[in-house]
């Protein structure tokens, strides 16, 4: 069992944790702390913003695929 720290020394989320929360948001409602951390991280990090858009895209692709888009 190996767990990595979630926050860096400045109290900001690591990308590793931010990406996990972005994915998790499709499964359950994030709590206040999680949302707050995420908003702050996304403001600073273009990589996780890209990942966020890609998750939305994966969701849209999947729905299109179900309704016979292919």
């Amino acid at each position: 069992m190996e767990k990595r720290p979630i926050y860096d020394e400045d109290g900001d989320l690591y990308c590793r944790e931010a990406s996990r929360l972005l994915s998790l948001a499709y499964e359950r409602k994030l709590d206040a702390q999680e949302s707050q951390d995420l908003v702050r991280h996304l403001d600073m990090c273009f990589m996780c913003r890209n990942f966020d858009s890609q998750l939305k895209f994966l969701h849209a692709v999947s729905q299109r695929y179900r309704s016979g888009g292919s």
Binding site: M1, R66, S70
Partner: protein, 194 residues
Amino acid sequence: MTDPRFAEIEGHRPYLVRYALSQLRDAQLAEEAVQEALLSALESLSSFEGKSSLRTWLTSILRFKVIDLQRRAASDRMNLELTDFAAEAGDDGWLDDLFDETGHWRVAPNAWGDPEAAFEQRRFWEAFEKCLDRLPATGGRVFFKREIAGEDTETICKEEGITASNCWVILHRARLALRACLEASWFGKAADIR
């Protein structure tokens, strides 16, 4: 006698085979499940009231055929890939491939521009299916049920016999793998394929 919906049902076959394949990972079993589902569908076509789409209705019939076949192949649970197994056990060491020791992306996700333009291209859908095929077995099953068929997480976890949080880890892993695969094979940037 010939219901015009017979032909329409047949038109959904490729999608249904995809669904079955994502769950069973065995072409022959998948065919068997779809065949049984279509037979049941034809028999009960008069009871279909069109409250959901035909595809949704057919998928719900197929779902139970698939579950039935999975139960018969109970040893299937032994075929879990190691990484999935680690994910189920709560070990997130597999993320080390994607994130460095400081918690940052090893390969930065690129901007994809206007990705939805890809919907209009037939070859995009082939690339998407290829990426789905490359997912590890559990990830492929869970992702297909959750995102494509739109089933709820709770039901999926129950069927897979795993906890919700393990289910979330498996979904996260599948999404990371899919985005890396699409970035490499379609959005044309060098990325880690896994």
